[in-house]
Structures are given as C-alpha cells and as structure tokens.
Amino acid sequence: MPALVLIVVFFFVPVLLGFVLSLTNARLTSPQGPQFVGLDNFTRLFSDPLFWKSLRNTVYFGAVVVPLQSGFALGLALLINARIRGINVYRTVYFLPVVTSIVVVSILWTFMYQRDGLVNHMLQAVSFNLIQGTDWLNNPSTAMPAIIFMSIWQAVGFHMVIWLAGLQTIPGDLYEAAELDGASTWQRFKYVTWPGLRATRSFILVTITIAALSLFAQIKIMTNGGPLDSTSTVVFQSVRAGYEQQQTAYASAISLVFFVLVLTVSLVQRFLTRDKD
C-alpha cells in the first residue's frame, strides 16, 4: 500500500501533470494562470532546430555508450571473475568511480580536459610531443566524445558488477563438462557463458540505454550544452527551458516527447530480447 501511494505521487501524478501542462502555456512565474493552447508547444518544438540537434546528440551518445559500455563492462567482469590473489582490490578499483558523485567526477575531468590539463600532458608524454591535443570541451568536434569517454569510465564499474553477478550464477560444472569435451576458451564463452547471461544481458541493455538517454549532469557541469550546441541533450534542453527560461509548459512538452522516446526504445528492446521459446 505505501508503495502504491509513492508510485502514484511520484510517478503517475507527474506524468499526468506533464501531459496536461504540455497542452497549456503555463509559466514558472506569471500573473496569468495556464491557458489551454492545444498542440502549440509541440508545433514549436518540432520546428526548433535546437530540439533536433539535442535529439541527435542524445541518440549519438546512446548509440556509442550502450555497446561500448556494456562490452567493456563484460570484458572487465570476465577478467575479474578469475580466482587470483587480491582480486577484491581490482574489483574495488574498477568500482571506485561509480561510488564517486558524478558531479565531482565531472568537475575533475573538466580540469583534466583543459588545453594545459592532465589529458594533454599525458598525450604529449606518451607520444613524445607528437600529439598536442586540443581544448577538448571547447571544441565542437571533441566535446561529445570527451564526455562519452568520461561517462563510460565513470559508469562501467556498475555494469561490471552486474555482469559479474550474472557470471557467478553459471554453474561451474558446465565449464568442467565443456573442458572435458575439449572446448576452446572461445567455445566455452560462446556456448556456456553467453547463453548463461541471457537475463543479465537484457537487464544491462535496458538500464544502460535509459541512463544514456537521460544524460544531463555531465552536460550541465562540463559544457552547458556548448560549444555550438554540440553537447545539448533532450533532458538538458528541457531543464534549461523549464527553469532558466521559466517555460514550464514547453519543458513539459519536451519531457513528454522524451518519455515517449524512452518508452519506445525500451519496448523495442524488450521485444528483441524476449524469450523466444
């Protein structure tokens, strides 16, 4: 029962309000109450070049982060699934960025990405000054890749742990049997590990996708959507419109479109990863 109250108050009510508000001209501060304006906000949204750019950036971020981060996390999980001495130290080290606040991580990386920051110094050191590096976050063509790199580094540990949990549910005797049958490492992965991770796989796919599409904190702290909107995302645009620009209704419209987008992507993923038996 308490759960029901919470889900109604914090999920159904906001979604409903977002839907209603998006059809009005509600403002954050205004002497006039909201008036019904039909689909005006959506017409405006779909003709707003910033929205399409934000949408493209969001999709770009998701399309790169989802496969890279889940693949990388699986690789790490396989590495640290071994029984070697001090394995917990490795696990902790890989997990460390996850327990650090994304705000702190973003501020630190902002300094590292500066023209005379740590990243460029390291590039110079390893390339014997061949690579000079750029001002990563202030160059429209490198800002998003820089944020992608940092985001993967920060979040990969979390999914590594989930993969690891999945790996440990696979019974050891399956591997023993495979070994007796003379299966190679690759064959063991392909025929024992991969099928054994079916449930974990769907879970990771859906959670990474949703997290990637809601990219906001890094953008707010590191670039504010710039330079030249190259890192503006749908959630960032919605927060900016709703609070800084006081356009409650327009921001609701953006959120609603975002909601539909995430819902569609999740449903498609559910369909593709459904139990076919």
């Binding site: 954050l28 501060t29 002497p31 030249l228 909107d229 900016r240 620009q245 356009q247 409650t248």
Partner: protein, 432 residues
C-alpha cells in the same frame, strides 16, 4: 559577492523541482497573511555566504529594532545559489517575507508576477539615489539599492606605455579604432600571452549578459527593442548587432582573447598572462597587487557611447506583506547615508548617493575609487526592465557563447531573435 548574478539555477535543480511541485500543490490552499506575526517583519536576503555584506544588514536590522518599539525586523539569510528559487517557491505558497532583496534584472519579472508591491518612499530620498539603483517597472518604483557595481577595463599601465597608446579616462574614453590599435600593438609586443582577456571562463548565464551586452549596446544594438518591448528584431540581429558579433568573435580569431578563459581571469591578469582584462569593481581590491602599474579604464566607445551594465541587489516589499507601511519605514531607515557608506567601505561597491560617497575614503571627487562612481553615473545602462528578462538573458548568453565558439553570427542572432519573439508572443508581450 554582491554581484549582478541572477544566480545559477543549474545547481539548484532540485529546488526548482520543489518549486514546480509547490506551484502545483499550492492552488487553492488558503493563504495566511505572511511576513511574520503582528509587529514582526520578516526580511530575506541573498547574502548568507557573504559575511561582510550580511554584517552590515545585521547592523541595520539591530539599529532599526532598537530605534523604535512597535516593530521587530527578523532577518533570514539565504545562500545566493538558491535564493531566487526560495523566493519563487515562497511566492507560490503565498509565504513571502515582508521585505526581501532582489537582483535588479529580476525585479520586473517578480513585479509582473505580482510578488512585489510598488515602493512608497519619501521623494527626496529617492531623488538622491544613483539612477541605476532604482528598479522601475511600468512607471512605478519597485526596488531600491544600497549600492551598485560597475565594470571596468583593467590594464597594466606599462603595457599601454610600451605599446604607445594613451590611457583612457571617463571623460575621454578610447574610440573603437584606438582600442583596435591598442590590441594590435600589445599583441605585436609579444610580452603577454593575451592582449585582452574577456573573462569567458564563467559558464553561468548572467555574467555573459551583464558583462558583454554593454558592448552590443555600445555598437548600437540591444537585447530587445526598448521602444515598446515587443520585439528583438532589428536590434539583436540588425547591422549594429552583426558588427558587434564580428568584433566579439574577432577578439578570439585574432588571438587577443582566449575562447575559454580560466576560472579566474583576473588572477591571470595580475600574474602577467594578459595585459588587459574585462572585469568589475569587485576585483578592484586585487588591482592594488600591481601597485601603480594597475589601472582601470572605461570601455571603448563603439559608436553609441561607452556602456557598462547597471543594477545590482536591491530591496523590495512583497505584495502579501501585512505591514507595508512598516516595511517602507524600514527601507527608508536602511538607506541612511551612514549605512550606504559602511556598505561601500566593507563591500567594495559604489555607494548609492553622493552624500554617502563623501563619507568614505577614496570615494570623494578625485578619490582613488571615484572612477567607478563617475563611470557608473555616466555610462551605466540597466538591463532591459521587462518581465521577460529571464528569457532574454539566457537566450543572449547562449548566443554570445555560440559566437565566441566560432558559430556564424547571423544565423545565431537570427535564431535568438526568433526565440525571443516567440517567447514574447507566447506571453502577450508580458503586459506591454
């Protein structure tokens, strides 16, 4: 810091969410008369993080409470980052304090939203104040400040002398050509990494508007057509604005200024990285680190006269205040020259009246700090006093950032104008 900041909402997103939630839940809640119980006035201020300014306010409140027995003023200080959100949330819940301070450009927005009541102060008191300390909206006075801030072109005298350019003064500012020559010559000298640091390291919104829209106004453009406040067309994307944009972008393209300054451009200037820096009175204390070599000049005249931004934090009375007369009485009391002088001394700000200036060392005519008062009186231009300002400032700041980042000025400014005009239309031109 008693700057121009509207505050950075991004850091207070949660507060904003809470605000929206309050906005939705507060409808129909019976409102009680706010601002404290009988005989008690609540006062809100933004400067919890600024002991110097808060100290003066505390002193005024204590003196006022001791000066009469009918009312007690109760002070509540907020951190600046969440101050505006607190006010908006309180207003939605009809729980605003009687007396509150507001950043000058937000005053019309709050007046329009019905948060504030026009001030009823003695005329001789108001007429003594610097124009830029008065918050007028629709012909009525809604807020009044104890001080103002000012921008300045801080420079190293030695760099100017080496380049063979004259030192600009309030009465005799540089022309656009003189400024261009100075930049070229200082750069040619090669002694400084940057000839002129714009201070673009602040990614927050308000600095971009406060700091750089005066250049646009000096070129003859503006954020909105102040004749009617019905469109930005022609002023934000006209010829003057395009000239401003290409000049602004040129500073980066020519290597005079970094596209992204470090977080403390003034420290870079003091440390010899740049020969000139665009900054404000709040750094005038640090200028003394350069001794006689550190000077401050007005901005160049780009055709429409030199311009700097005007308007800082100001006092206002809420419309839900039950004791309006007492609130006006308190504000009148707080504008005593004694307090204005103390604020100017402790806070490095421009005192709001001449008589207060006469009481503080350095602010008298000919004094070391006098530059800022003269500059402010002559060149300060307040940010557009329209309820639509929050939208104007975010849109302009983004446009300026995009121009610095190397985007096409015409496309950027046309888009900004179309965004602003759409917002104006959606709000019935905010009552204009």
């Amino acid at each position: 810091m008693s700057r121009f900041m509207i505050e950075r909402r991004g850091t207070a997103v949660l507060a904003g969410v809470a605000t929206a939630a309050l906005a939705l839940s507060a409808c129909g809640v019976a409102s009680t008369s706010s601002g404290g119980s009988a005989g008690e006035l609540t006062l809100w201020t933004h400067n919890a993080g600024n002991p110097a300014e808060l100290g003066v306010i505390n002193q005024i409140v204590a003196d006022y409470n001791a000066s009469q027995s009918k009312y007690t003023v109760k002070l509540q200080a907020f951190p600046q980052e969440s101050y505006n959100d607190a006010v908006v949330a309180a207003a939605t819940a009809k729980k605003l304090p009687c007396v509150l301070d507001a950043d000058a450009p937000t005053v019309p927005n709050w007046a329009y939203a019905g948060y504030l009541t026009p001030l009823d102060l003695p005329q001789d008191l108001v007429s003594k104040q610097l124009k830029s300390t008065l918050g007028n909206y629709q012909g009525k006075l809604y807020s009044i400040g104890m001080y103002d801030a000012a921008l300045g072109l801080f420079a190293r005298k030695s760099a100017l002398e080496a380049a063979g350019v004259r030192i600009a003064t309030v009465d005799n500012p540089w022309t656009a050509q003189e400024f261009a020559d100075a930049l070229a010559k200082i750069k040619a000298d090669g002694k400084y990494q940057y000839a002129f640091d714009l201070g673009t390291g602040d990614s927050g919104t308000e600095w971009w508007t406060y700091g750089y829209s005066p250049f646009l106004q000096s070129f003859g453009g503006d954020l909105i057509d102040r004749n009617g406040y019905k469109t930005a067309g022609g002023v934000l994307n006209g010829d003057a604005a395009l000239k401003w944009a290409s000049w602004f972008q040129g500073l980066v393209k020519n290597g005079y200024t970094p596209a992204k300054s470090s977080t403390d451009a003034f420290a870079d200037f003091v440390n010899g990285k740049s020969a000139m820096v665009w900054s404000g009175i709040w750094h005038s204390g640090n200028l003394s680190k350069l001794g006689a070599d550190g000077i401050v000049m007005p901005p160049p005249d780009f055709g429409n006269g030199p311009k700097i931004g005007g308007g800082s934090w100001q006092w206002a009375v809420s419309s839900t205040c039950g004791e309006k007369a007492a609130a006006m009485d308190y504000i009148t009391f707080s504008l005593n020259k004694k307090y204005l002088a103390e604020m100017a001394e402790k806070q490095n700000v421009i005192p709001a009246t001449e008589e207060a200036a006469a009481m503080v060392d350095g602010w008298q005519p000919g004094g070391a700090k006098r530059f800022f008062l003269d500059e402010s009186a002559k060149y300060a231009m307040i940010r557009p006093p329209t309820p639509g300002y929050p939208f104007l400032t975010t849109t302009f700041a983004k446009a300026a950032q995009d121009i610095i980042a190397g985007g096409d000025p015409k496309t950027i400014l046309d888009q900004a104008v179309s965004d602003i005009d759409a917002d104006l239309k959606a709000n019935n031109h905010y009552g204009f």
